[in-house]
């Protein structure tokens, strides 16, 4: 499978471990990531709030880059997925096209609307197939209870994004099961991580993150896993601040989605950038066995 790889800003910067794990998993599964140095930021929802039309135009340019390559886009971030997907939907609106198209014409870009935007989660579960992944598992994550944390923009708004379900998705839990781990069901899995207000009012963001982490823990999760690096910032990088805010200790390892897949396929913690996390994942690694056959 060949697909245009849209890593997004965070995976190229502070969340580089997400990019490392994505590349490792893609190689292991034979997915060819076609890169482009031309992709710009998706706007992360903030540009949309400041200037919606500009945000749609920037993302139309991104979509057109993949169109020119004749490839669909692969995202590894719920927010990139949501922003590119929402732009794709808005570009069906003639009133928006009337404002965006002339600007695109001035930079020599024509948006045709032929490209699909797919998150790694749906590529793995729908395209690649859970059965095929299960066959490649070399270190089943048996005994590890994982709380999936979807990230809002992967799921909502459902009507525009055409997602599996806004409030009762199961693709991530299906993947966790295929890797040998046990999915934990809890209300917080489809809730917000607090990131959008982390730089607006940090204590509020911290309380929201603590709430979801404690919800996962109360339902027995040894670890959480997220398909969104912004959720990872809230849940992992700011977990100490979340604990301080609610006045209770928290210890919850948080994996990026491809890190969890990589572990099951036999990658080492270093290959997946796990030492880069702010919260140690050792307690989760202790629960799973060694690789059956050394890499």
């Amino acid at each position: 499978m060949r697909i245009a790889y849209y890593p997004g800003c965070v995976a190229q910067e502070s969340g580089r471990e997400l990019d490392m794990a994505t590349r490792w998993v893609a190689t292991a599964l034979g997915i060819e990531l076609v890169e482009s140095p031309r992709f710009s930021c998706c706007g992360s929802g903030f540009v949309d709030e400041a200037n919606m039309i500009l945000n749609v135009a920037l993302n139309a340019r991104n979509l057109a880059i993949a169109e020119a390559q004749g490839l669909d886009i692969l995202t590894v971030c719920s927010t990139c997925q949501g922003m590119l997907g929402l732009a794709r939907h808005k570009l069906n609106d003639p009133a928006i096209r009337a404002r965006v198209d002339p600007a695109l014409a001035q930079i020599g870009v024509t948006y045709k609307g032929t490209v699909k935007v797919r998150h790694l989660l749906s590529v793995l579960t729908e395209e690649y197939g859970l059965a095929t992944i299960a066959k490649r598992v070399r270190r089943p994550l048996t005994g590890l209870k994982v709380g999936a944390f979807y990230g809002c923009h992967l799921l909502r708004p459902q009507a525009e994004l055409g997602t599996e379900s806004a409030e009762e998705p199961h693709a991530f839990e299906d993947l966790i099961t295929a890797l040998g781990a046990t999915p934990v069901m809890y209300r917080g899995r489809v809730m917000c991580c607090g990131f959008p207000v982390l730089f607006v009012k940090e204590p509020t963001a911290n309380r929201i993150a603590a709430h979801q982490i404690e919800d996962a823990a109360a339902h027995g999760a040894d670890a959480m896993a997220t398909p969104c690096p912004l959720c990872h910032i809230s849940l992992d990088s700011f977990q100490n601040r979340a604990a301080a805010e609610v006045g209770r200790p928290l210890h919850m390892p948080v994996f990026h989605l491809p890190q969890l897949v990589g572990l099951a396929l036999g990658a080492s913690p270093e290959q997946l950038g796990l030492p880069r996390h702010l919260v140690s994942v050792d307690s989760a690694l202790d629960k799973i066995g060694p690789v059956a056959v050394p890499t």
Binding site: C9, E13, R61, P102, G108, R156, F199, K201, I208, F238
Partner: protein, 323 residues
């Protein structure tokens, strides 16, 4: 016509009387119902046939009055609009809770004072423009196009499902809630309203930027009012009226300007764009902790290929807005 096949469904219903009970409990009721039975009808049957003490609010049973909002299998929605069959199929039972984010009066009835208080604070009525007094004896006629600008929000039935579903309301009492803001939007874009600018000036420092754009309100709304989208509109309008005045708007404008430079986000610069130096100092210990593990935070990204195209789009679509 043959009678519909019935299914045996366990209902776990939240029961709590704060004046008597030490803690809430769930009571299991088993009911044989047709799959298309609304949850509200099932609850009324429980009350009529099994437990007359069960307390709930309802009226029209037709998704018009907005009285029977509650939490069914962890989703905030109208009980009259939710069928038992699909819930039973997905969850094997039907768990019924009172709405969240409001204190329980008894069983499924909550005290909605904060919901209405937030609504009242936003002055949900037309404010007359002294320069354009409204005619006293004749109606003010609007064009269909003018009505189209806010046709979604008058559909709101104030059921509070959005308020119950909202994680910002849950975490921060300063957030006025999705309905209040959607209704505010309705008056801001109403051509008869004389208070547009004042409304926008007032809302920016009063919770507007606490919206998480998680869209849970839009999914919960039984009338497809789409509050999260109207809140986005309000943010862009508030910036247009007064620029960036606080962290939320500074962050949004800062982000927009940030990626203009290289096409990708410069993380360290964004902090400086959102916070003043004094505030940034308070973040230093956390930043130092992160930089130890993730030194890339301090590095500016390399400009993307075609950054001049990005710049051109800004000139065409952003500068235009400023003028």
């Amino acid at each position: 016509m043959a009678a519909a096949t019935t299914i045996s469904v366990p209902f776990d219903v939240y029961r709590f009387d704060p004046t008597k009970d030490r803690a809430p409990r769930y009571v299991r009721y088993n009911l044989d119902v047709a799959p298309h039975t609304p949850v509200l009808t099932a609850l009324l049957r429980i009350r009529a046939e099994v437990d007359p003490g069960l307390t709930l609010r309802y009226s029209c049973r037709s998704a018009i009055c907005g009285s029977c909002a509650m939490v069914v299998n962890s989703k905030s929605r109208l009980a009259c609009q939710t069928q038992v069959g699909p819930e039973f199929e997905r969850h094997g039972r039907v768990v019924v809770d009172p709405m969240r984010n409001m204190p329980v009066l008894r069983d499924l009835v909550v005290e909605m004072g904060s919901f209405w208080g937030n609504y009242r604070k936003l002055e949900p009525h037309l404010i007359e423009d002294p320069d354009r007094p409204m005619p006293k004896d004749t109606p003010t006629v609007m064009t269909p196009q003018q009505v189209d600008a806010f046709y979604e929000t008058p559909r709101c039935i104030a059921c509070a499902a959005c308020y119950s579903a909202c994680p910002a309301v849950e975490a921060d009492p300063e957030f006025p809630g999705p309905m209040s803001l959607a209704k505010l939007y309705r008056f801001v874009v109403d051509p008869r309203d004389g208070g547009t600018k004042e409304r926008l000036l007032k809302i920016q420092p009063n919770g507007l930027w606490l919206c998480l754009r998680c869209h849970l309100c839009t999914e919960a709304c039984p009338k497809d009012v789409r509050p999260s989208e109207r809140i986005r509109d309000l943010k862009e309008m508030a910036i247009a009226v007064q620029g960036a005045t606080e962290h939320g708007s500074k962050h949004a404008i800062g982000f927009k300007d940030n990626i203009r430079a290289k096409g990708l986000l410069n993380e360290a610069r964004l902090i400086r764009q959102t916070y003043n130096p004094l505030e940034a100092v308070s973040l230093l210990p956390q930043a130092a902790r992160m930089v130890r593990k993730k030194p890339e935070i301090l590095k500016a990204p390399k400009a993307i290929d075609g950054i001049e195209e990005v710049e051109k789009l800004y000139q065409l679509l952003d500068e235009e807005k400023k003028s």
